[in-house]
Symmetry: C2
C-alpha cells in the first residue's frame, strides 16, 4: 500500500444476519426492533458490531450474534456478501458483513417465548420485496432470499431447514415449498441418492405416517452438496 493509504479511515463494521426458518406456509425471517438510533424502533435484521475482545474472526462474531438472538449455536451459516458505503448509515461510512443462517422449526419453537415484542419471525410473502427495514436491510434480505431460492435448485440447502433427523418426504416437502411446485417422488429420491448428502439413521423410523419412514440426517451440517443439474 502506498503512503497515501494511511489516511484511509476505519469504517463502522457490523455483521448482520438473515436468519431463516421454515413453516408449512413458507420461509420466515427473524427481525429485531432497533432500540437505539439510527432507525430507532424500526425493524431490522439482527446484527451487531464486531467485539474485538471476544470475536476471533468474522464467523465467531456472526455466531455470537446468532446465539444471542436465537439461542442456537451451530446452525448452517453462510456468508452472503459484504455491503458497504457512505450512504447506508447516518453515522458514517459503514460496512456490513451479511450472513445467512438456517434454523429448523424445532430451533424456532425452543425460543418462541423469549421474543417478547422486540423480535419476531416475519413470514416472507411473495418475493419478500414489500418489507421496509432499517438501513439497507430490505435489500440485503432480498439478496438473501434470492440466494436461497437459487441454491434450492441445485444444492442440499433445504436440508438445513429441517431438524437433525427427518424423512425423505419431509425433505421433499421443503424443496416443494421453496420451489413453489410439486416434485415427482421417485425422481426426487433418485436425485437425492445421486447427490449423496444424506445418511440413514440406523434403526430409526418415523411412524407419523401410515407406513413407517426411514429417518435420515445430513452427512455434513455445515456444508452444501451441489447437484450436477438444476432441479
Amino acid at each position: 500500500m502506498t503512503s497515501h493509504d494511511n489516511d484511509a479511515f476505519k469504517p463502522i463494521a457490523t455483521v448482520d444476519l438473515a436468519i431463516f426458518s421454515l413453516s408449512p406456509a413458507g420461509l420466515s425471517v427473524l427481525l429485531v426492533r432497533r432500540a437505539n438510533a439510527p432507525f430507532s424502533g424500526d425493524w431490522a435484521l439482527p446484527g451487531g458490531w464486531i467485539h474485538i475482545d471476544e470475536d476471533a474472526d468474522l464467523e465467531a462474531a456472526a455466531r455470537r450474534v446468532l446465539k444471542e438472538k436465537t439461542g442456537v449455536e451451530t446452525p448452517y451459516l453462510e456468508q452472503l456478501q459484504t455491503t458497504g458505503g457512505r450512504s447506508r448509515d447516518p453515522r458514517g461510512w459503514s460496512i456490513s458483513i451479511v450472513y445467512i443462517a438456517l434454523l429448523s422449526a424445532d430451533d424456532v419453537a425452543d425460543r418462541q417465548d423469549g421474543l417478547a415484542g422486540e423480535a419476531e419471525w416475519r413470514p416472507i410473502e411473495g418475493e419478500g420485496a414489500g418489507l421496509s427495514l432499517a438501513f439497507d436491510h430490505a435489500v440485503l434480505l432480498k439478496e438473501a432470499l434470492g440466494r436461497i431460492r437459487s441454491k434450492v435448485e441445485y444444492s442440499s440447502l433445504p436440508g438445513h431447514l429441517l431438524p437433525v433427523h427427518f424423512t425423505l418426504s419431509e425433505l421433499q416437502s421443503v424443496y416443494e415449498t421453496l420451489l413453489g411446485r410439486k416434485l415427482d417422488k421417485s425422481a426426487f429420491r433418485k436425485r437425492v441418492a445421486e447427490a449423496d448428502f444424506l445418511e440413514p439413521v440406523e434403526g430409526e423410523m418415523r411412524r407419523a405416517s401410515n407406513r413407517p419412514a426411514q429417518m435420515f440426517r445430513l452427512k455434513d451440517a455445515q456444508s452444501l452438496a451441489l447437484f450436477d443439474r438444476r432441479i
Copy 2:
C-alpha cells in the same frame, strides 16, 4: 443493537483483489510487492484501504484499486468473500473484502511495461497452493482459484478472460485450459447456444484461422450466465 455494542471497535478494513488473466499456459494472478510494514517486501494480492473521501461504496473502492494497479476500468468484478479476524494483521483486528477480477490478455499487454519489479503476473501452478504471500493472501488466492474453477463448470465466466471480441474456438480454448480437458466442438457450441450469453458481432470475421470465424461478444460484460447442467 444493545448499548453493549457501543464499545465495539472499528477494525482495519481493506479491499483486496485477486486479479486474473489467462495465457496459453493457464491462469496468472497479479501480485504486488508490499512497500510498507507489515510484510514489507513480501508479495501480496493488490489491495488498499477504503478511501471514505472518494469511495462511495465497496465496489468503487475495489475498482479504484483495480484501475491503479492495472489501468483497466471495467473488467468483470465479483466479490469473493470477506475475511476478518484478530490474527491476520499485526496492526490489529482487520477485515478484508476480497474481490475477483478477470482481465483479458489484451488488458494485460497494455500494462506490461508499467510494472517495473513492484508488481508481476505470476503464473498459477497446479492448485496454486505453493505460494507464500503476505497476510492470509495465499489462502484468499486459493479460495479465488476454487471459485473460478468451480464457475468454469457451470457458467459463462471464461468469456470474461477474453478480449471484447472473440471466436467460439477461442472461447472453447479458454474453457479447455481452465477445465484441463478437451471438449467436443459441437457439444460445446450447442451448450453455448443454449446458454445464450453471446451475440455475434455483425459483419466481423476473424481471418486468423483458415476458415474465417464469426466474432462474438458477451451480451453482458458484468454478469454471468449460468448453465442448467454442469460441464
